[in-house]
């Protein structure tokens, strides 16, 4: 009934691919554990495939669409030092967050 097959089980390679997408560096033991647990959870979740949803619109939010527009006016906001205060290695004087070098 499905246009494509669900993965019956997760391999360590599948888990590595998802972890890369999610920016997570996993230990080998975690890879094995998650392969098993994600497989279990998804095979349980597959019961939703049995529900007839022909013509049913998806619900992304229960709120009726409403406008949240406001006038585009300058208002007080966080001061720069406060915004940087929790950044590891932030350069307070220059006003920057710092990250490892990205360009050679």
């Amino acid at each position: 009934m499905l246009a494509f097959g669900m993965p019956a089980a997760f391999t360590r390679e599948d888990v590595a691919k998802i972890a890369a997408l999610a920016n997570l560096e996993l230990e080998p033991a975690e890879m094995d554990l998650f392969a098993r647990q994600l497989g279990d959870i998804l095979s349980y979740a597959e019961e939703v495939q049995q529900v007839d949803t022909a013509g049913v619109p998806p619900t992304a939010s229960v709120l009726p669409r409403h406008s949240a527009d406001r006038p585009d006016e300058v208002r007080p906001s966080l001061d720069r030092d406060e915004a940087l205060a929790n950044g590891p290695d932030a350069a307070l004087d220059a006003g920057f967050f710092k990250v490892p070098r990205v360009i050679g």
Partner: protein, 490 residues
């Protein structure tokens, strides 16, 4: 003491706000080493604030929470007070601003005593996913207080504070309230501003109160509810005075019971307590009606597909750049940006958070989006329609009753090996989040071994007044919440 009693004693001059605050802090000091309900206690700040209230009695005379000690779940931003979400990744994070609910509480005179323990980023049903160790259930210290707002529920149950705030994405206020024998209210989606709540599932999250009585929940909701320009999902519905809804009268109120949904998987003691509670409501004049919620049985998979998808996106911001923790590179090696992100997150997040980020990333990824995420959103529509029908069809009901949790508090460690088993415990709570409806858990008795049981009532959108009226009428008749947990008599 309840909020009502604290207010009464301060208003009449029987006690000062500082005395009330000292008592709360002394109880925390005496009991929290066993309960671990708090991640952070701010004793000096609380006493200073209570002192300021005592110095200006005229200004605070009519403030609804003046001098009332309040505990905040540690995923609510507090300016100048560490806010960790019980995660290593935010262990040292100090927000530069207050959540709107915090601003509202303080404007009403509340005295913040500390930040409560919870499952990491509110992901869990037992508090065992806290990076700092689980909170304990005041009714049985070897059992979980439930989750994710377990510290908030334990704090109110052990009388450490008469009011605590929690957040509820799939039951995280109501389930711990049930397991600890207190009242927990999840308001309608959009009723309370979420500005400053550390986001988990943005289409589901809602902030609400945990209290000793239904009356106190109404007082708290009066303060918390209302639109906020800082939260575009808050709704400009009028806010009634919820305490005026507490008439004690449920004659003619129609209470729906989804019998088919309750047919299996419910602990025998919980089942019996529900039946007795329903009889009590009937004896007070309520009319019991069978309702069909044919899609509610799919709520758990739908919830875990939708909530993890949203979480994987919301938690992408914790990358070692702007908040607290950053992993250090191996000595002598320069590091790439992506490696820094991945290591920071690997070291900063616990297992359940990683699991949910992985699941959410997967269901949103190319090739699986339609099969899982879109499909789940379609079934979500069907779940929502079931409730709409129950509340509006010809035989419409005013509230729907079921147990809050299928079981009483379980032992710490009992379910940690099996995440799926843990998820199944949310069977009765997740639907209200998926449908955006208000729901309350009120104590409805005890199992044979003296563990609290909760009755859950779900209502129409923005009709918290009816929920509170029915719960209050039930509570007046039964007063389960007057029974103290054993930790208080040691």
């Amino acid at each position: 003491m309840t909020i009502r009693e604290v207010r009464e004693s301060i208003r009449t001059g029987a006690r000062s706000a500082v005395e009330v605050c000292r008592d709360a802090l002394a109880r925390i000091e005496a009991l929290d080493p066993q309960l671990h309900a708090f991640n952070t206690v701010v004793a000096d700040r609380a006493l200073a604030r209570a002192g300021a209230i005592d110095r200006e009695p005229e200004r605070w005379r009519d403030a609804p929470l003046a001098g009332v000690p309040v505990a905040l779940k540690d995923n609510l931003s507090t300016r100048g007070i560490r806010t960790t979400a019980s995660s290593r990744i935010l262990e040292t994070y100090v927000p530069p601003y207050d959540a709107t609910v915090v601003t509202r509480l303080e404007a009403a005179g509340a005295v913040i005593v500390g930040k409560t323990n919870c499952d990491e980023f509110a992901m869990g049903s037992s508090n065992e996913n806290s990076a700092f160790g689980p909170a304990k259930n005041p009714w049985a210290l070897d059992r979980t207080p439930g989750g994710s707002s377990g510290g908030s529920a334990a704090a109110v149950a052990a009388r450490l504070a008469p009011l605590a705030l929690g957040s509820d994405t799939g039951g995280s206020i109501r389930q711990p309230a049930a397991l600890c024998g207190v009242v927990g209210l999840k308001p309608t989606y959009g009723r309370v501003s979420r500005y400053g709540l550390l986001a988990f599932g943005s289409s589901l999250d809602q902030i609400g109160p945990l209290t000793g009585t239904v009356h106190d929940a109404a007082v708290a909701l009066n303060v918390l509810a209302g639109a906020d320009p800082q939260d575009a999902t808050s709704v400009p519905e009028p806010v009634p005075d919820y305490t005026t809804a507490l008439t004690g009268d449920v004659r003619g109120t129609r209470v729906g019971v989804p019998r088919a949904l309750l047919a299996q998987g419910v602990d025998a003691g919980v089942s019996r307590a529900l039946d007795v509670a329903l009889d009590t409501l009937r004896s007070l004049g309520a009319i019991l009606v069978d309702v069909a919620l044919p899609h509610a049985s799919h709520a758990i998979p739908v919830y875990y597909l939708v909530a993890t998808a949203e979480a994987s996106s919301n938690l992408a911001r914790y990358d070692g750049v702007r908040y607290g923790f950053r992993a250090r590179p191996d000595p002598g090696r320069s590091e790439e940006l992506r490696t820094m992100y991945a290591r920071t997150r690997a070291q900063g997040f616990g297992a359940e958070v990683k699991r949910r980020i992985m699941l959410g990333t997967y269901v949103l990824s190319a090739g699986y989006y339609d099969a899982y995420y879109l499909k789940a959103q379609q079934v979500r529509t069907l779940i929502l329609r079931d409730y709409e029908q129950a509340f509006t069809q010809r035989e419409a009901v005013d509230v729907i009753a079921m147990p809050t949790s299928p079981t009483p508090a379980f032992r710490i460690g009992e379910r940690v090996e099996d995440p799926l088993q843990m998820y199944l415990a949310d069977v009765f709570t997740v639907s209200a989040n998926l449908a955006g409806l208000p729901a309350i858990s009120v104590p409805c008795g005890f199992t044979a071994d003296r563990l609290p049981i909760g009755l859950q009532l779900t209502g129409r959108r923005f009709d918290e007044a009816t929920l509170l009226r029915v719960a209050d009428a039930y509570e007046r008749e039964t007063a389960w919440s007057k029974q103290p947990p054993p930790i208080l008599s040691r």
